[in-house]
Symmetry: C2
Subunit: 520 residues, 2 copies
Amino acid sequence: MAKDKKKQPRPKAETPKGFRDYFGADVTERKVMLDRIAEIYHRHGFDPLETSAVETVEALGKFLPDVDRPNAGVFAWQEEAVPGGGSGDWLALRYDLTAPLARVAAQFRNDLPMPYRRFAMGPVWRNEKPGPGRFRQFYQCDADTVGSASVAADAEICAMLADALEAVGIARGDYIVRINNRKVLNGVLETVLPMPASKEQDSHHEAIGQSVTRAMRTYTAELLLSDDILRVIDKFDKVGKEGVRQLLTTGRKDDSGAFIEGIGLSEDLAAPVLVFLTAKGDDNAATLENLRAAVGNSEIGTEGVDELTQIAAMLKAMRVDEDRVVIDPSVVRGLGYYTGPVFEAELTFEILDDKGRKRQFGSVAGGGRYDGLVERFTGQKVPATGISIGVDRLLAALRAKGLAGAETGGPVVVTVMDRDRMADYQAMAAELRAAGIRAEVYLGNPKNFGNQLKYADKRGAPVAIIQGADEAARGVVQVKDLVLGAKIAAEASLDEWKSQPAQTEVPRNELVAEVRRILG
Amino acid sequence: MAKDKKKQPRPKAETPKGFRDYFGADVTERKVMLDRIAEIYHRHGFDPLETSAVETVEALGKFLPDVDRPNAGVFAWQEEAVPGGGSGDWLALRYDLTAPLARVAAQFRNDLPMPYRRFAMGPVWRNEKPGPGRFRQFYQCDADTVGSASVAADAEICAMLADALEAVGIARGDYIVRINNRKVLNGVLETVLPMPASKEQDSHHEAIGQSVTRAMRTYTAELLLSDDILRVIDKFDKVGKEGVRQLLTTGRKDDSGAFIEGIGLSEDLAAPVLVFLTAKGDDNAATLENLRAAVGNSEIGTEGVDELTQIAAMLKAMRVDEDRVVIDPSVVRGLGYYTGPVFEAELTFEILDDKGRKRQFGSVAGGGRYDGLVERFTGQKVPATGISIGVDRLLAALRAKGLAGAETGGPVVVTVMDRDRMADYQAMAAELRAAGIRAEVYLGNPKNFGNQLKYADKRGAPVAIIQGADEAARGVVQVKDLVLGAKIAAEASLDEWKSQPAQTEVPRNELVAEVRRILG
């Protein structure tokens, strides 16, 4: 298999490029966070699903919803075709958790309860160029409801997302879940270029030289929502209203002076898009009123506003206030991918960026409603809606706020003064553990006692236990408070530190009580 | 990438051959079990490590310790060599958690605390022929101590394993951790064919026509411990003492009458091997005495018995009795792979096999001491010892004993009688959840109420909530005890069931209290 590799005397001890290892607290903090999210999802009736990392390329298809990584590829290989063994299929590592859900929903459609609420947490893989902080394996955490056309499913997921953010420690007021609806944008565009109602009207478009496919005829708006327009709308966060207007029409000079060409819409076509993007009012009622005016008589637009109105009512019934989940038409991420409601969760507190400047933390989750999920496999449209939390970003946010601190303290380290009395030291560690205290015996070469204290330091040990022959003979142990010791060392002179006031001698049978006193 | 695939109208909704999905309780039960094990490992000072699924083939090497799956291959592929992008390296999915540990221990040897205690839990992948119950992705759960030559590390791991088994619910008396030592076997063989002490003696072996390499000279015993002998010893569990004697010497007829050739040792050479395998006495002291007699003056053998003696003493100090962890020379699994102490955990209770016959559950974990871990990368020998729990087997055992039952109950299902009052139903579910009760609203098409009850049944719902227009007007809800309902349905006639005694009407504001009463 590795035929073309040169013979090397020793292999390199390296992760492949773009991959990394997670040590200790890295693992624990993420686990604590995901456990809290899982508990919220579970309480909302969502069931865990764990698919395998490997899928057939055929089943995965091309389904990447992540607008941030449009060029992401997959890691794939072909199985050897062996009689009774490999199938010759192309296999690949999953690139998200949605494509496997689609496969599962199709494969088990007769067995699963429908609607099917499921959550999934686990690594996904992207075969793309790694960069700083951008890895080729990372965690996703998704919740989706498959098989429900009701926007009650969307409302529920947004409320659940807000609950999940609070469960991991984000305070109310430090986040906002915002909801938009692709159908409203479609409707807004219809007010400008009405939907063709008949063959006669179709010919109008053919007359203007467009190749109109049967599918594209359904809504004229779809015709306009080309990738170009969606790409412009997607920049609303960055360039603002005026920037979007320029990019939709004649073009724009950016801060560096470079000119970015516009996509050539008339001002009349651009205007309603801008009205839509800035329709947010003081509260949901005002926003919905603005949107209703913007979509006029458009059927799809009215449907979209009705959906948002229902979602707002349901959130209210669930006592989820607008300071937690709010209707906001300026949410543009994913409008090109999703078919109905679109959600985004943002953290609103400020952190310092690399250059020490304050900025809002920003998006940590996104999602929405999509229809094509199972259709690829079965030909049947199955409505679905879901949310994906950016695990690494949310964890980074918790760390920035000092909220990721799982109990990650080091163990009590029992040092070894006398190699022959290893059993005694292990008895001490066992007693501490039996009392629920994390503890270990130093297992390296005990010759150099300084090394043992260095080890305890590297382990983040709060306490070291010392018992030499003298202490053993007298039936006592030395208990060294390393946290206090470090404080004294930092603040006092070396001489003062040498007097070791952070070390106390206690009878052997008071070991556990003394350690408990120091830790408590 | 999938160039040679035929164009197909619809992809197949199937997992690749040998892979599977885990639903609901499958996921939860495994998670609860691993969480309990992780807590024990953490309390013993072990830190979690999560390496990526993907390693370079170069770093993985060939290091398979699992004697049950000697022919296991890896899933591997070559990266495209792209300037600034892919490296052209061969990459592969990890086939165990030990090879990545070796890479980590070498890569981070200057940063990690040494000795390094780490545990790891996660999927591994084997590119081998799948079979019934044999999958190409499965979980492993390992704990290892790297960088300690002290058998205190071995004793600690065995005690920890016993604690872990009890933590997941295996009762004391239902398991036994057994310890053997490769060095004792080496020593036993030395008593027959003594170690060459000088060049002169070396020539003796050359004289008998053996090609003796420099490395093989270290212990003559190594010369004997060819794969052949280890393969025979490995069958001790199945064929017993007499069977091993026959296989070591002239051969054996098995139950089917087929003759299996022996490996041609003389009876004199075979005898001490048999003494070793059957050296277990009534207690550790007796076993150690038998072993000491068996190794005679052999240096390596004495060292092995000394190690076991120390391990026994340390276990005693940790108050781990011999009914939990015991010295037992009949443990043969892995003797060929490991270099010192070898461990195995067996579940001793009986279960019924496929054919309804009683049999002991058997092995659920194994491990031992090995030296080659980091040497491949750095050239330096780094002693290490570890244990691997068979996650699927242990989980199967817990299920067989009815001990895997995580809280996997279905949610309370709020049914939908009136589509326009979705907000009311969601308010009910939200109230239940706020009281800590798992609850969801039915999100399918509400037209057919029978479908809603079927759904509740499929979800394993303990309670269904019903509120039609009439109940809403009167300010009440119907609370249906589905568990009681199912009991009545099973025991009573359909007529009696129709009177629905398991359904009660309560004021709307007593909803939560009534559900609590039923669940409690």
